[in-house]
């Protein structure tokens, strides 16, 4: 309460700094956290601003709406991961099954076990209520991801490693357990102690899946 008596001498240390260059990245980082924790609709820009060390007004200085902010988050977090996967696939030589394993493990390392896993979860959760965002995400991420995985399977089929399975369908079967594990982490994992040994779960899945699509 003696708080207001603080010395007011000379340059009383600026209450805030101008940091035009650093703000956007900081706001995006804060937004990622909040979106992941709350989902899109329930995320409060006030909260994003607080965590970024600014006020709501500043957020609107750099992003014209909540939508735009979310798109920025996706573009600067998930999209680069996809790109990295594509690069990995392009650079890969050798059996398709090895590439498959690399990609699946990479997905878990970069997305599944980080907070990024909240983004696909959020997107599936709120696609209905925000069709424009869903479309955006679908075009920028889902399609590219499917193409990536489809390429791997086709490569394996061409090389004779895999049977001539239905590719789009198999892509979904390959991804489903990963996405489910990610969603679990952001939902029921929070209300149970039931252990979930994800690395083993993933390896088991890889095993079953590769075994299933390989020639007998």
């Amino acid at each position: 309460m003696t708080h207001a008596v603080a010395v007011k001498r000379h340059p009383p240390r600026p209450r805030w700094k101008r940091r035009k260059g650093a703000r956007p990245a900081e706001i995006v980082a804060a937004a990622l956290q909040v979106f992941v924790e709350r989902g899109f609709a329930a995320a409060k820009l006030e909260e994003v601003a607080r965590r970024a060390g600014v006020t709501k007004g500043t957020v609107y200085l750099y992003f014209k709406s909540k939508d735009a902010l979310f798109k920025a988050v996706v573009r600067e977090t998930i999209v680069p991961c996809i790109a990295e996967g594509e690069a990995l696939a392009k650079a890969h030589t050798g059996p398709a099954r090895e590439l498959f394993v690399k990609l699946v493990h990479g997905w878990w390392k970069m997305i599944g076990e980080t907070q990024l896993s909240g983004i696909p979860k959020l997107m599936m959760a709120e696609a209905v209520n925000f069709p424009a965002l869903a479309r955006f995400y679908y075009d920028e991420v889902v399609i590219r991801g499917h193409k990536l995985m489809a390429g791997v399977l086709e490569r394996g089929i061409a090389s004779g490693e895999f049977r001539a399975v239905d590719v789009p369908l198999s892509v979904r079967l390959a991804m489903a357990p990963l996405l489910h594990a990610a969603q679990w982490r952001h939902s029921f994992a929070l209300c149970t102690r039931e252990p979930f040994d994800v690395p083993r779960y993933i390896d088991t899945h890889i095993d079953l899946f590769l075994n299933g699509i390989s020639h007998a």
Copy 2:
């Protein structure tokens, strides 16, 4: 437009009826639709009321809150499905793999391909923001479902049909593709024409999975 000129003679036909007995079920049915279409948070009680042919106030006459309404929906829709599955398992004699196939197909018929699939999707989506509801759903549905499927696997292991796999982990692997398909229907399916042959997807999954946990 000559509508307002309607004869006002005698008992001008009541503007609404008292139907204490029928209301709750009608409100629950309407609520199921709206919750599935919008999710929990975004579902408007106004909308529920409208579809049930009453006003918002009436909803509160029968359910003390949005939470309570949602719980009623779960109890009267998903929970009976679980119970039916349990009955099926109890009555089943014969190979565990047959029971597995029956349960998976049954799940898709009763939940996956109906609007009920929106409930698990919704619940995973909003568990973080509504921990009390998540807990409720987890206890009443998830645990029972896991127990049910775990029982099937254990039966198969005991009979020598299946290998001695990690049961909880395998339960998740068995369910993940189903849940994912359900979520897909309520998310990206709405923003693409990309076909998704779910019956084939499910049969392929059953194939891979049973093949994987059976003895070589």
